[in-house]
Structures are given as C-alpha cells and as structure tokens.
C-alpha cells in the first residue's frame, strides 16, 4: 500500500475537461467563503497551490476570481504587489518574495479525469500555513 492511499482526499473539485489549457482556476474546497486553492492547467499537467502569497504569508493572490496569471499567461502573479512565480515550481522569480515559494497542493487525477486534492493528517491542505493571530 503506498503512502498516498492512506491520506484523505477532498471531494471531486472539478474534472480535467473543465479546465482550459493555459488557464488558472480558484477553488473553495472547505466552504470558507473565498477560494483557498488554485490550479493551473498546462497540457495534461495540472499544478495546484495554496492561494496564499509568501510575501505577507496570509493573503490571497488574485485580483478577482480566477485572475492568477500574468497577461501572457506565462507566470503566476500576485496582484497585491506584483510578485511573479514559476508555474511549474511555484518559486517567486521577481518581486517582493524573490526566491520564496508558493505552497504546492498535491492533487490526484483519476483515470476518468476527476480532480481531488490530497489532505494532510490534520485535514488541512498540505502546505497550508497555520495562521495564528
């Protein structure tokens, strides 16, 4: 039994065919009233990250629903202060959090194209920082 099988998954958040190539989409798998995870589809690969910018550590990236990419769709953009991130690695390549990374979320795509997120042991998304006030 692989380690992955022991980890809980969210419900199906979408299907691969719902995602247009080269576009990003936000999701609210825990019904928090705003998107907390986003995915970017490139060909048949889907990259998923927690919707929190490492610059301030607790703030969302887009300026409106699904607006996660630069105009040329080549990078992920934090529209709070313009940090741009590599889509495949999540590393900030220019801007206020240079060298820091978005937190990746592990995803599972079933044979039928159903997309789910893996959850960590505490039922939070893997990589989601614990925000204390």
């Amino acid at each position: 039994m692989s380690a992955d099988k022991r980890r809980p998954l969210t419900d199906v958040v979408c299907r691969l065919s719902d995602l247009e190539d080269g576009k990003a989409y936000g999701f609210d798998p825990f019904k928090r009233g705003r998107d907390t995870v986003f995915v970017v589809r490139r060909g048949n690969k889907v990259y998923a990250y927690v919707d929190i910018c490492p610059h301030y550590g607790s703030t969302p990236l887009p300026w409106k629903k699904n607006a996660y990419l630069t105009g040329d769709a080549q990078h992920i953009l934090c529209s709070a202060h313009g940090a741009i991130f590599d889509i495949e690695t999540g590393v900030c390549v220019l801007g206020p959090c240079l060298g820091q990374s978005l937190s990746p979320v592990e995803i599972a795509i079933s044979y039928e194209g159903d997309i789910r997120f893996f959850l960590g042991a505490d039922d939070k998304l893997i990589g989601e920082p614990v925000v204390t006030n």
Binding site: P60, S79, P96
Partner: protein, 307 residues
C-alpha cells in the same frame, strides 16, 4: 515648496482592458482613449493613468515587477515649479515637458512629475451622523442606509512605497521637497505630508530589501465610513478580491479597505483621515499589527437574524 499632494499615478500594465474594468468599478471616470488607456479621475480631478507597459512615452520601469511608472504631484503655481527645477537640478537630471511638467527621479529611482495642480475644488456634503448628546446632523426623515447611494472616490489620498533605504528617502522628501514627518513606525516607516496638505499622510514609506522596491498601495478618500463600506461591498459582490479590511488605522485614524488590483498593487478606499497643522508633534511606535489598526473586520455575505 508649495506642493499640494499626489495628483496622478501613472501605470504601465500587462492588460489595459483588465485595469479599465477594475478602475471603472472602483469608481473613477475614464477620460482617455477608446482602448481603455488614459486617465481615470476622482471627483476632484486627481486620479490614475493606465498605459500598456511598452508605451514609449512612459518612464522606464523599476527593476522589480512594480507597474507604477510615475507619481505626479500637484503644486500651487509656476513659481514652485521653477523652485523645484532649480533645487533638483543641483544633483540630478531634470526635464521640463511641453506642458510645463517638471520631471526627475527621487533618491530611490521612482519617477516624479510636478505640475500646477489640476484639482477642482470640491463642494460636497460630508457624511452626517446622529449622535446622542449632539444636535442631529442628518435631518428628520432623512435615511442614512441608502443602498443605492453613489459612493465615488473624491480625491487621491496617498501612496505607499516599498523602499530599500527609508532614511535616505525620508531625507529627500523632507529636505528637498519640504514634506513634514507626521508619525513613524520604528526602523523605517515615516508618514509624510507636503507643505500645502493637512492630511495625516500623502506618502508612507516602508523599509524593504532592494528586490521589493515599488508601490505597496494607493488610496482614495471617500465621503465617510458608510461610502467606504458601500463601495467595498460592491467590489466584493462583483468578484474582486478583498485583501485587508474593512478596518480603521491607528496613525491617521483613517478607515480602510484594500483590494488587490490588476495594476499589481493594492487599491484602497479610505475615509475620515486626521488633519493636522504645523503644531503637531510626531509619534513613534514599533511596526507591528497591533499598531497598524485599532480594529479589523472582515466582509461576509449577507446575513440576517431569524427565528
């Protein structure tokens, strides 16, 4: 120096269309080209300009991903422009544009413009409240909670820069441009205002590493807290991303509500900022969340008690 305040911020952006949609919903009126580029103004004629990032008329960008290309200050008269030209020519290149705008860069390389202000004098009602023990400000039969009320930015309030050397920048704005220090967050975080402005701040500097240099946010003054809440709620309803707020700041006392924007910076509605004259003595506090706000609320979808 008879500087009034920031009259215009000029951006070079990825997508003019996205910015045009955002700024229109933010409440500024477009005065420009059909493709959405050009100037967007608040009620008093201050505002934002948006162009494609490769527009040849823009000053060069900062070496970060900041989309701010120029901050244009309104000054009282031609005499002030002459003084600025003379003062800044001492140690940097100064250009005078065909419309008389004096242009140079500040000590961190942010492009600046100065021109005789185009602000229009506003003659508008303030927000009026009824408070026990005081005469009612809103008359009988006048309703305060009007969902359909216009809530439009009245004037460009302030800008906030990330700067790698806040002390050097503060000295430039105070010694060369005649700004006054109003309050300070310890270790780089001066709130500054120019000579002819009584608002608590029109410029706030945040000390950061070189790679962050750029614009943290800009803000526009609303009539009062109610208009701020109305305008902010309408943004949320349209799907824009609230970043921080609504809440109320400590230094300046202004109510705030920040949104992410396609200009790669926060766009803030603010209201009811403190005003000061030259008798004010600056305060200082460590820069921490407790000191940046006296309270912070968070927007949530409509709710009503039921039974």
């Amino acid at each position: 120096m008879k500087i009034i305040g920031p009259d215009e911020l000029v951006f070079g952006v990825d997508s003019v269309e996205a910015c045009a949609a955002f700024i229109a919903d933010f409440g500024l009126k477009h005065r420009g080209e059909k493709d959405g580029s050009g100037f967007y103004e608040a009620l008093d004629g201050t505002g934002l300009s948006v162009y494609r990032k490769d527009d040849p008329n823009l000053p060069p960008p900062l070496p970060t991903n900041s989309m701010l290309r120029k901050t244009i200050y309104g000054v009282e008269d031609q005499e002030t422009l002459n003084q600025l030209k003379e003062e800044l020519s001492k140690d940097r290149q100064v250009r005078v544009q065909s419309d008389g705008t004096v242009e140079a860069v500040d000590d961190m390389g942010f492009a600046l413009g100065f021109r005789v202000t185009r602000r229009r004098k506003l003659n508008l009602l303030p927000e009026r409240i009824n408070s026990p023990g005081a005469a009612p400000q809103r008359g009988f039969n006048e309703i305060g909670a009007n969902e359909d009320a216009e809530a439009l930015p009245r004037t460009l309030s302030h800008v906030v820069y990330f700067v790698p050397d806040a002390a050097k920048m503060e000295a430039f704005y105070v010694e060369r441009l005649g700004f006054t220090l109003m309050d300070r967050f310890t270790g780089g975080g001066p709130f500054l205002r120019p000579a002819l402005n009584t608002d608590h701040h029109t410029l706030f500097l945040i000390q950061t590493p070189e790679y962050m240099k750029g614009l943290e946010h800009f803000a526009f003054h609303m009539q009062g807290p109610t208009e701020l809440m109305l305008a902010g709620s309408r943004m949320v309803k349209k799907g824009y991303q609230s970043f921080w707020g609504p809440g109320r700041h400590k230094f300046g006392s202004n109510w705030f509500w920040y949104f992410n924007s396609p200009m790669g910076t926060h766009a803030e509605f603010d209201a009811d900022m403190d005003v000061f004259d030259d008798k004010w003595e600056a305060r200082e506090l460590p820069m921490m969340t407790e000191h940046s706000q006296i309270f912070l609320l968070e927007h949530r979808a409509k709710w009503a008690p039921g039974g």
